[in-house]
């Protein structure tokens, strides 16, 4: 693969690579779970003595639903996988289910030292994404987006609507600590369809929430 098929995703990837730490541009066409698992390799690398303190992986994924380990431990998980209608991959970070597809761009930032701590790590990731979006002409900020799927304090917002969600996981080895902070950026696609996939999955788990398409936006919408 030569990069994201979505033109604005490709432009955003270039901006992230230009503005951020050393970047691995990862366009391999592996299965969704392998793509998600590669972030674990990032953490392992960050925990290796002599590794750079900051580096990033910019990547894409085929259409899938990416869920958490907590969701995967649910007794009705297998049924929920069957009902959602997409391949399901399990990630190490927290939150709830999100949809990946060719209209989303993923960035995973590996941090060590003080910046692997929660708030600092999210700020470093968010500021990088905000600067990259600014190169495309999108003004963004950090904050919660009530009514959005997988909400949290550290979404990337455009006009109070969620443009990207963030999550993280951390580890320790031989006295060294590191964290991988990642974001799923909605560049294009159909938000309502994505939310419907999430709703089907979470309804089958019995954990569904009410999500509002209007709480989300995409880069494509903002620039059209």
């Amino acid at each position: 693969m030569n990069g994201p098929r979505h033109a604005q995703a490709a432009a955003l990837a270039r901006a992230l690579a230009e503005l951020g730490p050393p970047a691995l541009l990862d366009w391999k066409g592996d299965a969704p779970q392998a793509r998600v698992d590669e972030d674990g390799t990032l953490l392992d690398r960050a925990l290796t003595a002599g590794a750079p303190s900051h580096f990033q992986r910019i990547w894409t994924n085929d259409a899938c639903l990416v869920v958490t380990r907590a969701q995967a431990r649910h007794p009705r998980f297998e049924e929920a996988v069957h009902r959602c209608g997409l391949p399901v991959a399990i990630r190490r970070s927290g939150g709830t289910a999100v949809v990946h597809h060719e209209g989303t761009l993923q960035i995973s930032l590996a941090l060590t030292g003080a910046e692997h701590r929660l708030e600092q790590g999210y700020e470093v990731l968010s500021e990088l994404i905000i600067r990259a979006l600014a190169q495309l002409g999108v003004v963004a900020a950090i904050g919660p987006a009530p009514g959005s799927a997988c909400d949290g304090r550290f979404n990337i917002l455009a006009g109070n609507r969620k443009l990207a969600g963030t999550a993280a996981f951390a580890g320790q080895r031989d006295g060294r600590s590191a964290g991988v902070f990642h974001a799923c950026i909605a560049v294009g696609g159909n938000v309502a369809e994505d939310l419907e996939r999430i709703r089907r999955f979470e309804t089958a788990l019995g954990t569904e929430d009410s999500y509002i398409a209007g709480a989300h936006c995409t880069v494509e919408q903002l620039l059209s």
Binding site: R69, A70, S93, R117, L118, F154, A168, A170
Partner: protein
């Protein structure tokens, strides 16, 4: 006896909870084993056994925990 404490410097604000224990109360664990997962603000942290021994769980999964709290003992 060794205590497993939640580190003071992992996060500033927000609620935390052990999302899962990977061993049962009374199990034998080894130093360095990942024995639990702590979740704060959509972030997961591995909790590793600080010593070899038998695990006594003091904070149940999904219960709120705070920085500095002892969540298990290993003896």
């Amino acid at each position: 006896m060794t205590e497993l404490r939640i580190a003071d410097d992992l996060w500033q604000d927000g609620e935390a909870a052990i999302s899962a224990w990977f061993y049962e109360d009374g199990d034998t664990v080894r130093a360095g084993d990942v024995i639990a997962e702590l979740m704060v603000e959509k972030s997961s942290f591995e909790l590793r056994a600080p010593a070899d021994g038998r695990l006594t769980i003091l904070a149940q999964a999904e219960e709120p925990v705070i920085k500095g709290q002892t969540v298990a003992r290993i003896a």
